[in-house]
Each structure stands twice: as C-alpha cells, then as structure tokens.
C-alpha cells in the first residue's frame, strides 16, 4: 500500500470505530519489504522475499480496553474486526489507568534521525548473495574451520504509520541491512562454534565480508579445546556482547509492568543507589542512524533522551502510558521497549581491564534463560577464556556463572572504552567482581 492509501484507510477506520461506539481508538499500520538470503556450502540455501502488511488496533470504551491485529487488509474484514473489538472491550473490566496518551506535539524532525537510507533499497539481489557467499568462503578456506553453520545477508525497508483519536498522526520510514556468518571447529565430539553479525540502518556503516568472517573465525578458533574449571568465586570480565546481555536483564527489571506487578528487585528503588558510582546508563532513541532510533514509541509518545542510572543512582524506570499512570509518573516513551540504551563508556582499554585480573573469567558467550527479575537472581551456562596473571590463557566451557544483579551492579569495578552501538541495548567491556563459577 502507498502512504496516502495507508492514511486514508486508517482515518476511515478511526471514523468507523467512533461511529460504532468506541471512545478512544489507536491504529498502527506497518508495511515491510524484506529480503533475506542464507548461504550454505557456497550455495543459496534459502531465499525469502516478501512484502507483509499488518494493522494493529486498540479500542477503549468507558476505560475498558481491547486490542486486535490483522494481516488481512480487506475493508470488510477490518470493519468486522473493529465491531468485534468493541464488543470485547465492553467485556473487559473498567481500568481507570487505561487510555491513550495525552496529546503532545512531536517537534522532532524525523529526517534528522537518518534511519532511512535509500541506498539500501538499491542493492541488487545478486550483490547481497555474493556478500553472504564471501563471508562463508573466507571461513571455509581457513584450514582450521570444519563446518559452516551458514551465512546471510538481509535487508528490510519498513514504514510505520500511527494514528489515534486524540489527534496524533505520525509516520516514519526506516531501512536496515543485516549480515553475518558462523562456523564450527574442534576435534571429534568436542566441537566449538560461534558467529558474528552486523546490523546497520546505513549502508555505509555495514562492515566488509572479510571483517565479519574474520571476527567469527577468531571467536570460534579461540574456543578450541575448551574445558571445565573448578567451582570458585572470581572476577569476571564481560566482553561487550555479554555486558549488553546483562543490561538486557536490567531492562526487564526496570520495565514499568515489572514494577507495578512487583516482579522486580528494583521496586521502590528510584533515586537510591543501586550500582557502583562509575555506572551511568542512558537511553537515547534520538541518536541519528542507530538501530533503535525512533521519533515516537508504539503509542505515539515522543522519544526523548533519559538517564536511567546516574552515578550509580536509579533515576528512571522505562514506562509506557499505562504503567506511568499506575506509578503516578510520566511515560518515558517506552511502549516499544528500549531505543538506544547504553552503558556510558569509561577510559580503560579492554586489554587494561583483562590485565588487572589475577585469576578470573573473560566471558564471551552464555546459554540458557536463568534470569528472575523478582529476585535479581541470574544463573547461566557460560563460555569464555580463563585469565591468569592478567593474560588470556585457555578456553573454558560447560561451566555456569551465577549471582544476583543487585550485587553485580554494585560490583562493577571497571568500564571499558570500547562502546559500540550494535543493537537497542549496548555496552562496553566491564569487570564485575565476586561472581560464582560452577564447574567440576
């Protein structure tokens, strides 16, 4: 569908819903143009190309809520969906906190976000295929690599349109290109594997196939011969992917619904010290050309930069309109989760951090769930490289690391200078002391 068709359709549906008795209505329509090619042993394994469209609907009557979605975009279906959603809303309970956000002018110019790069639309399918093949070929040509677990190149062009009965209308268009590859190595049944991937909203920021392949190869080869270590309590150096994954658990614990449902160890902890004073965590969805950049969230609340942890003190939860009202606060524009959340980088190089550890783990990969926001408990399978006297020595696997996020945040002793924006949650290398490692 074209932009003006989307606008016409959603405006008409809002009118239709109001005429059938809806008090408040929100409609969003997302259309995408997606391409993905996966390579296996230098052949195309899968090629998937499609243009999905989906409509999402929220209806409120007397503070009673119902939602719906449809990929069937026929007028007839959508009108029936609205009628039925109105009927269902009447059967929900009255909830005084429910409702659309108050109207607010979006002053930010979406173009300044630079999340749409027309160059991505112009890449020919053959170029994407060759890019992915090249990643895999570099790995297969390495004598130490035994098996390819596949490489890929994908592009996505999306258009999001959001309108509500309070008069909000917002539109943005974005592009993303993704590429990655993975390999296995090792002897007999003692195999090791890893991968590397990149995703960018601007084509000029995409790394080369050589860079991606070599990153993946390096991550695989350094794990060959991995073994267990004995159970002990040690400092752990988290590589940037692992630091970001730990922040992901923090995000669960500061999300509004976890707070009002009391399913977080950070309930009632606003404006108290919850982390080491060197910790500063920020979310800025308005940074240009980043993967989590957006002008407004899923409810049409304008994006803004917020401080989450400032010098170790918890300053903000991540709130949508509903959880904000429940907690007598204001929405932070997080109805769609974090934008570009990051741990502010420090001054130490990753090498300096590693060299400060006498005996400990350099954590490079985890496996499993093992996070409980209610208590902050965390326990996961771990892979990495053992540090002895400030030097990386042998690889370790089939161990677990365990702790409690409350303690871990306070035990962050060093923060690296290697912050890179790779996803919607980002962090540099960090060191955390006193973590339980279980092995033999």
């Amino acid at each position: 569908m074209k932009n003006n068709q989307l606008i016409d359709l959603s405006e008409n549906l809002i009118k239709f819903a109001k005429s059938k008795g809806a008090h408040e209505v929100q409609i969003s329509i997302n259309t995408n143009n997606d391409f993905e090619v996966q390579i296996m042993n230098q052949e195309i394994e899968k090629l998937n190309q499609s243009n999905p469209t989906e409509l999402n609907l929220k209806i409120i009557i007397d503070k009673k809520v119902a939602t719906a979605s449809s990929s069937d975009m026929q007028q007839n279906t959508l009108e029936n969906l609205i009628i039925n959603t109105i009927e269902r809303a009447k059967l929900s309970s009255q909830d005084d906190f429910a409702g659309l956000p108050e109207k607010e002018e979006i002053t930010f110019n979406t173009e300044q976000l630079e999340i749409f790069d027309p160059k991505i639309l112009k890449i020919k399918p053959e170029e994407k295929i060759q890019f992915a093949k090249k990643i895999e070929k570099i790995g297969l040509d390495n004598p130490k690599i035994k098996v390819s677990t596949g490489s890929y190149y994908a592009t996505s062009h999306g258009q999001n349109y959001l309108i509500n009965s309070n008069g909000f209308q917002g539109f943005y268009e974005y592009t993303v290109c993704y590429a990655g590859g993975g390999f296995q190595s090792g002897e007999d049944d003692n195999l090791v594997e890893d991968y590397w991937s990149e995703s960018h909203v601007k084509l000029s920021e995409m790394k080369s196939p050589e860079y991606i392949a070599n990153k993946a190869i390096e991550r695989v080869l350094r794990m060959i011969g991995a073994k267990k270590v004995k159970s002990q309590v040690v400092p752990v150096v988290f590589d940037p992917l692992m630091s970001a994954s730990l922040l992901g658990f923090l995000v669960q614990c500061i999300t509004g619904s976890s707070i009002y449902m009391k399913r977080s160890f950070l309930v009632d902890k606003l404006n108290t010290k919850i982390a080491s004073e060197i910790v500063n965590i920020i979310d800025n969805p308005l940074l240009p050309a980043k993967i989590g950049s957006r002008p407004f969230d899923a409810e049409g609340v304008a994006s803004k930069k917020i401080n989450i942890i400032e010098n170790g003190i918890l300053k903000n939860y991540l709130l949508d309109t509903y959880s904000a009202r429940k907690l007598k606060m204001k929405s932070t524009g997080h109805a769609s989760g974090p934008g570009n959340l990051y741990l502010q980088q420090g001054h130490a190089t990753p090498e300096e951090i590693i060299s400060s550890v006498k005996n400990g783990l350099y954590l490079t990969k985890t496996i499993g769930q093992g996070t409980m926001p209610t208590t902050g408990d965390i326990s996961k399978g771990a892979y990495g490289i053992w540090i002895e006297n400030g030097k990386l020595t042998y690889p370790v696997a089939e161990i677990t690391f365990s702790g409690n996020l409350a303690d871990m945040l306070n035990n962050i002793t060093m923060i690296g200078n290697d912050l890179e924006f790779r996803s919607s949650i980002n962090a540099p290398t960090i060191q955390i002391d006193n973590i339980s490692i279980s092995g033999t």
Partner: protein, 506 residues
C-alpha cells in the same frame, strides 16, 4: 471463481464479529469452515479451484525447479489476561496469507503474500522460482484431495468459538483459586491464549490436503511475598482441545500448582554447586530430552554435519535401557499434528531404540538430501516461514523403577522440579534453568533450592542416565529455532543422572 473467493473471506469476516456474541452463530461458522476439510463439495480452497492452484504451481516450476508448493493459512488467535483483580484486556489476531515455496536441488526460494488474489500469488511464486535457472518442468500429477486422521484434535468445543464471557469465568476461577490459596500470595496474573488455524497445502507432486487445528493454553503466574522475600512461579496447561478440557488439568489445579510453588520459593536457598548426582523429576524434565537429544536429532543439523549425531546412525549413543521417540499423533497434545506443514501424514518416529540411534526427524528437503522418506516433522510458524525439521512430542520411554526408589538411592544430590526452559548449541552443549529444586540428603528430599542452572553435553548425559522411573510427565513448551516458534511438548519419567554440573551462587 471471483465470487467464491469473496464468499470465503466474508465468512471469515463474519466469523470475527460472531465469536464474542453468539455461540449458535459461531457453530454455523464452524460448519462453514470445516467444509474445507473432507467433504469439499465444490473443491474450493481459500476461494481457488484446483485448476487455479495447478496454474499457480506451474509458475513455480517455470524455471526448472524440482518442487513448487502453496501453503494457505487462516488463523484466528485470541488472548485474554487478568491481573490485579481485573480483566485488563483481550486481543484477537487474524493471520491470512499464502506462502509460496520452490525447491531446486538443496535450494529453497520463498515468498508470501497477504493478498489472496491470483495475480499476487503468481508474483510471489515467480519470486520464489527465481532461485532456479533451467528449463521449465511440468506438474507430475493431478491434485488429489487427501484427508487427515481425525482423532488428533478435539474440535467439538473449540476455544476460538467460545463465548468471551465463558472464557472470562474460567480465568476468574483460576485467578481466585491462586489468590486465595494463601495470604502471602501478592500478585496473580492469568492469561488464556487460544487459536484456530486452518491450512491448505498443495504441491507440484500432486498433493492437496487441508487441516483445521485448535490450540489453547492457560498460564498462571504467581508472586508471593513474606518478610521482604519474594518468589515468582509459573504453571500452565494446554493442548489441542476445547472448553471441556478432556483429561487435562483444570484451571484450579494449575492455579494451585503455581501458588504452592511460589510459597515454597520464599524458603528456597541457592543450591550446592559443582558436579553431583541429579534426579530429574517427571513433571517438567522433558525439557532436558528436548534440548540434549531432540535438537541434535533434527535432520537439518545432520545433513549439514553441524550436529555431533550426524555420523552416528545405527551406533550406540546411550545406555541400552534408553529409548527415545517423537510421537506427533498423541490425541489432544500441544505438540500433536495430523499432518505436518508440508502435508506429510505424521507418525510416531523412533529416534533412539535401546540405546542405538535409529532415526532423525526430517522434512521433505532433508529426507531427499539424506535419501530417506519424510516422516512428518516439517513445521513452520506461519505462512511467512519456510518449513524446517522440528519436534512435536519428544518422549523418553518409561523404565521400571519406582520414583521413590530412585530418590532413596541417592545419598546427596539435586532434585530438579520446575524450569524456565533450556537451550542447546549445535555442538551439543545444553543448559536448563531450574526455577525450583530440592536437596536430596540420605534418600530424602529436604531443603527447597532455587536459581540453579544444569549444564552438560548431550552424548555424555545420555551415558550418565542410570535409572529410569515407571512414571511420566510432560513439559509444555514453545520451541524457538531460526526465528520460528512452534508449540511442542516433551515427556520424561523420573531420571537419575550420575554426574552433572549444577551451577548456582556459591
């Protein structure tokens, strides 16, 4: 042709407005929809005739591919949630679309469209066909309608057609049971999810087959609080049945399970860590079988030589008293299917028989590559996805030991009860995250334990199994692989593992 296509869509549309309002009308809708299955008088499939489908499939072979396929899907999914004493919201999601797939050698081309018009589907099919580059082929056979086994699903009272009020009553019963279980229960949330999926699959080998699949799940999450300590637990029940629940646990029973576990967690401590004897209780430990054994036996990981099982066919990979199978035909189970998502009739597939590796779970493509027959494990999340080998109900067969006897045989060890889930890598390393366990001391369960991670390598763990119980329990899960989620179960008796690493805070 044009007229009937609209008819179908109108029925669909009408159904949507009726589900919440009238049971009688929705029964009519159901009759209209099931017309697709079995006695399809006019032989219309999502508004298309067989001749239309043959033409569309021919476009898929126009560049010389081996197989072209159409996958039509219409799914209505509903959810209702209750928390903080109120029905917070309900939702209804409609998915309508067709996926077109073309296979050429080992290569797959795929495209899908939400627009059910001949032109749109033709364009999707031509996009999918572009992976092949040789002379056109012709369709081998006429499309012959096949019918499916009927006993897999209970379609007599599907949730998707139930009155919303009735569902709300059911949710409230569960909610109140959990909340009133004990004064320390602080927060309860209950969600009821159901869907009704209708599919028609046609391919250039002459297959045409339809299926109507119900699914429901009730999930209850409970948080207890006492003296500054908090614990959260989750319990669920579900399957391919309707409002009469068949032999499943009632919502009250599920609520009681969740509430009692949340209370026990208040007292739970961190486990002793390191290598030790582990007893896996029957209720949810199937997740270990799923991760450690199931994934490595999916055929795609084997023809790609990514699984450590790829070269072990007909070899002993476990103790001789271990038998593992995947049975998609168990009536009403969450992972059961009459046909897989490529139209292959499902069966009970033996994987490890008395310790020997005897089978992989495959789809059409991996069966072709490995020179064997497809055995009904090609599944996809929706019309948007390429089918890949997946599990259904993966089960370790019962043994001869009384579960009590197994616990009694352990002087000191860890007894695992409930899980958040598990994960495995291709190389066979797996973990599962234990929400609640117990310490075993002198053959008895003593202190409750929390926050434990069990970790191991699949081949080793199979050889560490020393006792198998004569009981059985099932974990209800949603399995994610290559970005696609599908409903599964995994079952196991009580198991004694002689050596396994338990991780936790020291």
């Amino acid at each position: 042709m044009e007229k009937t296509r609209r008819e179908f869509l109108k029925t669909t549309g009408l159904g949507i407005s009726l589900i919440a309002t009238s049971r009688l009308w929705s029964n009519n809708l159901f009759a209209a929809l099931t017309l697709e299955k079995g006695n399809n008088m006019n032989e219309e499939y999502f508004g298309f005739t067989k001749e239309d489908l043959k033409k569309l499939l021919a476009f898929g072979l126009s560049k010389g591919a081996d197989l072209s396929e159409l996958y039509f899907e219409h799914t209505i999914a509903n959810s209702v949630t209750m928390s903080e004493d109120i029905i917070k919201s309900s939702s209804q999601d409609i998915a309508l679309g067709v996926g077109t797939r073309v296979i050429h050698g080992n290569q797959t081309g795929y495209a899908f469209t939400n627009e059910l018009t001949f032109e749109s589907i033709k364009n999707a099919m031509l996009t999918a066909a572009s992976i092949a580059k040789s002379k056109p082929k012709i369709i081998k056979a006429n499309l012959e309608q096949l019918t499916t086994k009927s006993k897999i699903y209970d379609l007599s009272t599907p949730f998707a057609h139930a009155n919303l009020q009735d569902k709300i009553e059911l949710i409230k019963t569960a909610y109140n049971t959990a909340l009133k279980y004990d004064s320390r229960i602080q927060k309860v949330s209950v969600s009821l999810l159901d869907n009704l999926q209708q599919i028609t699959i046609a391919n250039s080998d002459g297959l045409i087959i339809s299926d109507t699949r119900p699914q429901m799940r009730i999930g209850i999450s409970v948080t207890a609080e006492d003296k500054g300590k908090r614990g959260t637990s989750f319990a669920s029940e579900g399957g391919r049945f309707g409002m009469d629940f068949k032999n499943a646990k009632t919502p009250q029973q599920v609520a009681e399970t969740a509430a009692s576990e949340a209370l026990i967690l208040l007292e739970a401590e961190n486990p002793p860590t390191g290598e030790q004897i582990v007893v896996l209780s029957k209720d949810q430990s199937g997740v270990m079988i799923h991760e450690a054994v199931g994934h490595p036996l999916e055929a795609d990981a084997n023809w790609k030589k990514q699984s450590i099982m790829w070269d072990k066919m007909n070899q002993m990979v476990s103790k001789p008293f271990v038998t593992i199978y995947d049975d998609a035909t168990i009536p009403y189970y969450r992972g059961s299917l009459a046909i897989d998502d490529e139209g292959t009739i499902t069966e009970n597939v033996l994987l490890i028989e008395n310790g020997k590796l005897v089978g992989f779970m495959n789809d059409r493509l991996s069966a072709k590559i490995m020179n064997t027959k497809p055995n009904g494990h090609g599944r996809r999340e929706s019309y948007k996805h390429i089918p890949i080998p997946r599990m259904n109900n993966t089960i370790l067969a019962q043994g001869e030991h009384d579960p009590e006897e197994i616990i009694k045989s352990v002087k000191k060890g860890f007894y695992a009860v409930s899980y958040q889930g598990g994960q495995v890598s291709n190389t066979g390393k797996f973990t599962f995250s234990c929400n609640l366990g117990y310490l075993i001391e002198d053959g008895k369960l003593t202190k409750p334990l929390k926050n434990a991670t069990l970790i191991g390598t699949n081949v080793q763990i199979l050889n560490e199994i020393s006792m198998i119980g004569n009981d059985i329990g099932f974990f209800l899960g949603t399995c994610g692989k290559e970005g696609q989620s599908v409903p599964v179960t995994c079952g196991t008796p009580t198991l004694k593992i002689d050596k396994m690493t338990v991780g936790g805070a020291i």
